[in-house]
């Protein structure tokens, strides 16, 4: 087998050196009745070309050749071949968590840069080395708010990504946490009037996402004020991180939980992505996850180490701030390289292109009879349209045109059937936007 570096005679010699006749003797501590006699029922071994063939065949069964208008938490953005070339260096790809700092300065330095970039983007003071993704980062941010405030109720906007809320519910269920959902207004923003005083006074946090699941930017400063007045925190989720190129950062929030997929990470059918938690310095000891910190060696040279590890499970065990161990380091590196390439001007330009294209698409689609915009609040690269008929039916027809239509909101919001969440990024060519508009117009003109 090509991955195994031993010849039959080397195996024999090693067995001899150990003092056993056959390799089976090394497994004698496993009770005999549990030792397998027959080979596993697995497909026969494949050579490298056959493995590639298998996966190419699978790729051909997917959406190659389709244009997609899906966002809803996962976005198609520009990526550079430079990023991919660099993260495939074995020194990054095949190294472990940097516990042995002297032998892992590459990873540690990059993590420190990642933490810095995330602070700059979010307007926060400290960011960790990564979480699994946006959904679990948001959940961990809520648990963190609970620890800080000692309160057990959270007020969560219904405009937060439904799958993020679902993850939060799964985690919260057995921890004695009460989740109160807060509706949205005609602007598509969290309904601040629905924040009851008595709820706020018991709340660990208000949880909001901006841009929210409808693509609408929330009023972070006002929400922070409402939270702080009652001793609660403001947790802000961000699913579309490119927005931070032009959208005001949630600096007033106490904890920011972000999905970094937009920073050079391919959609990859749901993962791996990279989650981020950023917060204020004063809350750092309540943070989950790894942190890289700057220090020096005996000769005063700058170096980086994992630090404040006493928060983590390998030291504090059942009293740790989280059970997280493995994180998404390689994808934090992808984001770091990608943002270094894109830079200050590039990120801003990218964000502006998203805004311009989304507005163009919205205007194009709104000219179709029966199609209208639903929410009045400011939106970034996603917007909600009302269709005169079921979004799923329209999408079925669009699929025939090799278009993956917008996200049908009725799946998660019963009150929003016939509402579609359209996403347009800098990677969507104008011609495809026009093709979507033309196809949708034709479909809606046809009688049902």
């Amino acid at each position: 087998m090509r991955y195994l570096p031993k010849s039959p005679s080397e195996r024999r010699e090693m067995l001899e050196a150990i003092g056993v006749q056959s390799v089976n003797e090394l497994f004698e501590s496993i009770p005999e009745k549990f030792r397998l006699r027959a080979p596993l029922a697995l497909p026969a071994a494949l050579s490298e070309p056959e493995i590639i063939q298998y996966f190419q065949a699978r790729a051909a069964e997917n959406s190659k050749g389709y244009t997609s208008f899906l966002g809803a938490g996962v976005y198609s953005h520009v990526r550079s071949v430079v990023t991919d070339a660099l993260v495939q260096r074995g020194e990054f790809l095949t190294s472990y968590t940097p516990y042995q700092a002297e032998f892992a300065q590459g990873t540690l330095t990059a993590i420190f840069e990642f933490q810095t970039l995330m602070c700059q983007l979010t307007g926060q003071e400290v960011a960790n080395a990564s979480m699994y993704d946006g959904s679990t980062a948001l959940t961990e941010a809520v648990l963190m708010a609970e620890r800080i405030t000692g309160r057990h109720r959270v007020l969560v906007g219904r405009s937060v990504h439904p799958e993020y809320r679902h993850v939060l519910q799964t985690y919260a269920k057995n921890l004695g946490m009460q989740i109160e959902e807060i509706g949205y207004t005609e602007s598509g923003q969290l309904d601040r009037a629905a924040l009851k005083k008595e709820s706020l006074e018991q709340a660990a946090a208000i949880v909001v996402q901006s841009p929210n699941f409808f693509g609408v930017i929330e009023e972070i400063a006002a929400l922070a004020e409402a939270a702080h007045r009652s001793g609660a925190l403001l947790v802000t989720g961000i699913a579309e991180a490119v927005s931070l190129g032009i959208v005001r950062p949630p600096a007033e929030a106490d904890i920011v939980a972000m999905e970094g997929q937009s920073f050079g990470i391919s959609p990859s059918y749901g993962g791996p992505y990279v989650g981020v938690i950023a917060t204020r310095d004063k809350f750092v000891r309540q943070m989950p996850g790894r942190l890289a910190g700057q220090t020096t060696d005996a000769e005063g040279r700058r170096g980086f180490v994992l630090t404040l590890a006493t928060r983590e499970q390998h030291i504090r065990r059942e009293k740790a701030t989280s059970n997280i161990c493995t994180n998404e380091a390689l994808f934090a590196l992808v984001a770091t390289i990608h943002l270094s390439l894109l830079g200050k001007e590039g990120l801003r330009e990218q964000a502006l292109q998203n805004l311009a294209k989304a507005r163009f698409a919205q205007a194009e689609l709104e000219t179709i009879p029966g199609v209208r915009r639903v929410f009045s609040g400011p939106s970034f690269n996603e917007f909600v349209l009302e269709f005169p008929r079921s979004v799923k039916m329209v999408n079925q027809d669009l699929l025939r045109e090799k278009i993956i239509g917008p996200f049908a909101l009725g799946t998660h919001y019963p009150e929003l059937t016939k509402r579609a969440l359209v996403c347009v990024t800098e990677t969507t060519p104008r011609a495809e936007i026009e093709r979507l508009a033309a196809a949708t117009r034709k479909i809606l003109e046809r009688p049902v």
Binding site: G73, G106, T295, V305, I324, C325, L341, K344, A356, R430
Partner: protein, 510 residues
């Protein structure tokens, strides 16, 4: 910036090393920044330009991100290439971190994960145009079930610790459906720290049980502890000592007789694949670490994947969605499962990691047993050659890893950490230090199957040499490493006055 010359020893006497290149002293990306540079250009905008503050309102917009780097493409290439040279990696040599299973990460896995039509797929796209992705998930599930002997699987958890939590939540839901979720989960003192941390998030209390003098679960002790309040025992098998629980059948029986379940932490599955199946020896719920046994790259700390496998009775509680094959042969995501514990992560988990694991399994097929045999062979070979040089606190047969202690070297003031750091000078990554907690001064060595006999011999030679140094020149070991770009770092200063991000005014000393 000034260039430094360094005097170094050489066989011909002291020489002046050529001026130190900046690559050995690479700064942070922020320190290379200058206004107006960029490393990536976008295609021109093909729709009318908008003014952000007009389109969104001034109160919702920002100026360019303060402090963000402005560098060119070649600077990015050099910066990260230089950083990479400061890392050790499996691609460079043996990485014998016990319990981490640092095996070869096949390159073809990286290639297929990047294919157009796989890397490009959106998790919300309709099933009609996702059949390839769904089939990959389905095929992987089938393979994992075959390897473990379990009945049903979820691929959603994205790390071992999340797999633990998912498994525990399923245990809770299962017991709840029987009328009582119970209160405590038993954990041996040799367990990984994620176990107790996960138990707490699942709403259970941790009860630690002591290992016996042989480092195994004390079944009398277990019988005594296993009251009606106990929901499960979380067992790592082989244990973190690298030893198979010989009384596994009895352990399962004790639990099952009291209505409790056996959870297996599959972190050490690399000792078992193809040789024995947890489903056959009484395990009810388990997780696998695909970034260990199934070769997906660790990437400096992640990503991972922690699929959970269960026996039939727990299937209704799997997280949603579940990948299913319909009667017409098509694949779909089933969301309507009323008894499900819910969701532990958005979408379908770390698909990109899952498909790499499938590529690994496809490469081996049933021959995966050979990998297991070689892993166990390597660890026993190293054990044999180092026995007598290092103290072996538990003398039971080793499987894929062997745990020594620094008891002998300690007499010369040399600790496991010192030996670990000195290994760096010999060109090896250190083994795992200070774990498991039941071994003071633990030295936990897991070579994996990826090491040739030659590489094992080099490692053995290095360890013997360090043991000799510990006696003759302990200072040499205690001040190691001597060969890295920087020396031992001041972790105390890092923790007392944390500096966790770069600031322009603090860019200072190099």
């Amino acid at each position: 910036m000034s260039y430094k010359s360094t005097e170094i020893e050489s066989p011909v006497g002291k020489i002046l090393k050529a001026r130190e290149h900046v690559s050995q002293n690479e700064g942070l990306i922020f320190e290379k920044s200058a206004p107006g540079k960029r490393g990536m250009e976008l295609p021109p905008l093909d729709v009318p330009v908008l003014d952000a503050s007009k389109a969104l309102g001034k109160e919702f917009t920002r100026d360019a991100v303060e402090g963000f780097p402005e560098v060119s493409e070649i600077e990015v290439i050099r910066h990260f290439t230089r950083l990479s040279t400061w890392n050790y990696a499996i691609d460079l040599g043996m990485y014998p971190l016990g319990s981490c299973t640092m095996k070869y990460n096949p390159r073809v896995n990286e290639f297929v994960a990047r294919l157009e039509g796989l890397a490009t797929e959106h998790p919300e796209q309709p099933a009609e145009v996702s059949q390839g992705c769904l089939r990959i998930l389905y095929d992987l599930q089938k393979c994992l079930l075959s390897i473990t002997g379990m009945d049903a699987a979820t691929l959603q958890p994205v790390a071992g610790a999340q797999g633990e939590l998912t498994g525990l939540l399923m245990i809770r839901a299962y017991l709840q459906s029987q009328g009582n979720p119970r209160k405590t989960v038993l954990i041996p003192d040799s367990a990984h720290g994620t176990n107790p941390a996960s138990v707490v998030i699942a709403g259970y209390e941790v009860k630690n049980i002591k290992s016996n003098a042989r480092g195994q679960i004390d079944t009398d002790h277990l019988r005594e502890f296993c009251t009606d309040d106990v929901a499960a025992l979380m067992l790592t098998n082989p244990s973190t000592l690298g030893v198979f629980e010989e009384r596994i059948a009895e352990i399962a029986t004790i639990l099952h007789e009291r209505g409790a379940l056996l959870y297996m932490d599959g972190a050490n599955m690399n000792a078992l694949a193809g040789v024995t199946r947890p489903g056959d020896f009484g395990v009810d719920v388990m997780h696998l670490n695909l970034h260990k046994t199934f070769s997906t790259p660790h990437g400096g700390g992640g990503p991972g994947a922690g699929p959970v496998l269960v026996k039939k009775g727990l299937e209704p509680f799997l997280p949603v969605p579940v990948v299913v094959q319909k009667e017409d042969g098509k694949f779909a995501l089933d969301h309507s499962r009323p008894q499900s514990i819910g969701r532990v992560r958005a979408y379908c988990g770390n698909f990109g990691v899952l498909l790499r694991a499938l590529a690994y399994i496809l490469a081996y097929g049933p021959g995966i047993r050979q990998a297991t045999e070689d892993a166990v062979l390597n660890s026993n070979y190293i054990r044999k050659k180092l026995e007598g040089v290092f103290d072996l606190p538990y003398n039971l047969p080793s499987m894929h890893e062997v745990v020594f202690s620094d008891a002998r070297q300690k007499k010369h003031g040399v600790s496991t950490m010192d030996i670990a750091k000195r290994l760096i000078d010999y060109g090896f990554h250190p083994y795992t230090t200070a774990f498991p907690l039941i071994v003071p001064g633990a030295m936990m060595i897991e070579p994996t199957e990826s090491e040739s006999r030659e590489e094992c011999d080099f490692f053995i030679e290095a360890m013997r040499s360090i043991a000799a140094e510990a006696e003759t020149n302990p200072e040499l070991v205690k001040t190691a490493p001597h060969s890295t770009r920087i020396g031992r770092l001041d972790e105390v200063a890092a923790a007392r006055k944390p500096v966790l991000r770069w600031k322009p005014e603090e860019g200072g000393s190099r």
